[in-house]
């Protein structure tokens, strides 16, 4: 509708939704970064021309419905098992581009074994790890990446390490393995960090096309609803609390001779 009108006027389209975006509005909460991250993934898929070769593996969590928004083949995985399903898909279909999209509960809690071993085998897949330090879909329980003293529905007095251990730094942990080709942590909270996020995601997909091995991009994300904040306050909270503990940057990159 909008495009037709534009062709007959002197206006120039400077922004379009990506071709691989399914063209519907998302169900995500105001201030959630899933929509932004999905959109960037769609842009990357379009720019690399891999829409018809791509198979996404959907997690259990708020983003289980990613397949409603991203127009590529999708396989639903069980909670935490996306890296295993992705391994099965990629090993039997090496010419397809396979990516997982997982939250912090999915990847770092129930899926801890699967992500470590997929990374350790150097599976030629792309992992998008959305870290918002909480369980979103189930209503705000503690996650492995929940910060100390952070209040959640299962840490009502704040996370106490005596009881619940410490937050896990996934990028740092996985970068001790020899096999992963590329591991970087980015943020989707502030506009100024989005170009770096897109660059990282594009590299993570390009690495797979080039057969370089396992690539993971962790994306610090806001969850205003379960953090009990407004979207803008959530961005501040991420900047003030998550970024010091989960520093942005590259942890592994075969391209920079870092093996």
């Amino acid at each position: 509708m909008t495009e037709k009108t534009m062709e007959t006027t002197t206006e120039k389209a400077v922004y379009k939704r990506p071709k691989s975006w399914k063209g519907v509005h998302t169900h995500y909460c105001p201030g959630c970064t899933h929509g932004t991250i999905h959109k960037i993934i769609c842009e990357v898929i379009d720019e690399l021309g891999i829409q018809q070769q791509t198979i996404g593996v959907a997690p259990v969590g708020c983003s289980v419905l990613i397949y409603n928004y991203t127009d590529v083949d999708f396989v639903e995985a069980a909670h935490g098992r996306a890296p295993a399903s992705a391994t099965g898909i990629k090993r039997t279909n090496p010419d397809r581009i396979v990516f997982t999209y997982q939250g912090d509960g999915d990847l770092a809690s129930i899926g801890a074994a699967e992500i470590i071993h997929a990374a350790n085998r150097g599976e030629n897949i792309t992992v998008v790890f959305v870290n918002n330090a909480i369980y979103g879909m189930t209503g705000g329980q503690m996650a492995p990446t929940t910060l100390l003293e952070q209040v959640t529905t299962t840490t009502p007095s704040g996370r106490d390490p005596q009881n619940a251990g410490y937050p896990i730094r996934v990028c740092e942990m996985l970068s001790t393995l020899a096999a992963p080709a590329y591991i970087e942590r980015c943020s989707a909270a502030k506009q100024q960090h989005l170009p770096a996020l897109k660059k990282a995601l594009k590299k993570a997909f390009q690495n797979q096309i080039d057969g370089k091995g396992f690539s993971l991009v962790e994306v610090l994300s806001t969850c205003p609803t379960n953090w009990g904040m407004t979207p803008l306050k959530a961005i501040d909270w991420l900047e003030d609390n998550m970024r010091p503990f989960f520093p942005l940057g590259k942890f592994k990159d075969f391209d920079e001779g870092g093996k």
Partner: protein, 354 residues
């Protein structure tokens, strides 16, 4: 392939390969370790993929991913490992994915023991996983039958887009017999490009392999679809052997190795003039209820014998509509019911018959 002396686990592996399965994701567990070992050597020879997963949880999810793209893929395990696969199996039924799982059954419950059992019958016919679901369950009784049933397992899985589980008691896994594994032409009943992931370039549109339907209307429609499919399987698929049952007053019911032992008992007692037979379900889910019903009215009593404490007996009683007594003789702990013990039970029962 000419007749070769092979171990059961290796027969399972090679038969799957001859049935067109080039992909295996598995994990070591006794008594089926020879399968991943065999696959690790054999699959690279034919351009296939062997991967040792980090757990049975991972292995079952790996085959789920692979099968979602329409390829023939399998995993194998033994009892406790099969329990770990229950979640993935439920997903595969909901997602309508064709795949084959083999359980080389050991004694349970829990860590149990490594000696053979048939005590995962209930687990298999109960569907292993959660929700309204059914698995097609095959129970071979000899290594040559394993050869036949492995091919059928893949064919059935693809025909109905449903997981199939082959339950082999541990004896089947570990004995050695001469088998002939013919080279098979893989005949697919379908072309996966219209439903499977990874074929968007041929199809033009994307697919979602899913079991999640948050809207109860949609989920109910989906469940009814799965049920209609199961009823089709029930109507179309049956496999049951009846040995000397036409005039048999006493019939032994058994599957797998328990049936093999029972066959010897039938032969011994027939030689003495006793009218005794054996009924051996091979496809145990769907269960051949009507084959049991057809034993009546000649059959006055059934002796069910299993390498467990009484699982298939439930179906046997329903099969004869509770019209005749069904006795049970079974062993647990890793023991097989002994031929002499089954024979003694038969003599006791037969003496009381009309």
């Amino acid at each position: 392939m000419k007749k070769t002396l092979m171990k059961g686990t290796e027969v399972i592996a090679e038969s799957a390969i001859q049935a067109g399965c080039k992909y295996f994701f598995g994990y070591p567990i006794t008594p089926q370790n020879e399968i991943p070992e065999y696959m690790s050597k054999r699959l690279p020879e034919i351009g296939g993929v062997y991967l040792q997963a980090e757990s049975e949880v991972a292995a079952s999810n790996m085959i789920m991913g692979a099968a979602a793209t329409g390829v023939r893929v399998m995993t194998t395990s033994s009892s406790p490992g099969i329990s770990l696969m229950s979640e993935a199996v439920s997903y595969m039924v909901g997602q309508e994915i064709p795949t084959v799982v083999v359980n080389v059954m050991r004694a349970g419950p829990g860590l149990g023991g490594i000696l053979p059992s048939q005590s995962d019958y209930n687990q298999a016919v109960g569907g292993i996983g959660h929700g309204d679901m059914n698995l097609i369950v095959l129970a071979p009784g000899s290594l040559q039958e394993v050869v036949e049933l492995m091919g059928e397992a893949f064919d059935l899985a693809e025909k109905y887009r449903n997981p199939v589980i082959v339950i082999c008691d541990g004896v089947i896994g570990q004995i050695m017999e001469a088998v002939e594994i013919p080279e098979r032409e893989t005949k697919s009943a379908y072309d996966p490009t219209d439903w499977a992931a990874g074929h968007m370039d041929k199809r033009g549109t994307s697919v979602i392999i899913r079991s999640l339907f948050l809207n109860p209307d949609e989920l109910e429609v989906h469940n009814e679809k799965l049920r209609a499919k199961w009823l089709k399987i029930v109507a179309n698929e049956k496999k049951c052997e009846k040995y000397m049952t036409d005039d048999a007053k006493l019939v032994i019911s058994a599957f797998g190795t328990a049936a093999r032992i029972s066959r010897s008992v039938v032969n011994t007692l027939r030689a003495e003039g006793m009218k005794i037979g054996l009924i051996r379900p091979i496809l145990v889910n769907p269960f051949p209820f009507d084959e049991f019903e057809s034993l009546l009215p000649v059959c006055q009593h059934i002796l069910d014998t299993e390498m467990n404490l009484g699982q298939m007996i439930r179906e046997v009683k329903a099969g004869v509509k509770f019209k005749i007594p069904v006795s049970f003789y079974g062993r647990s702990g890793g023991f097989c019911p002994g031929e002499q013990d089954i024979e003694n039970e038969c003599r006791k029962i037969y003496a009381e018959l009309a």
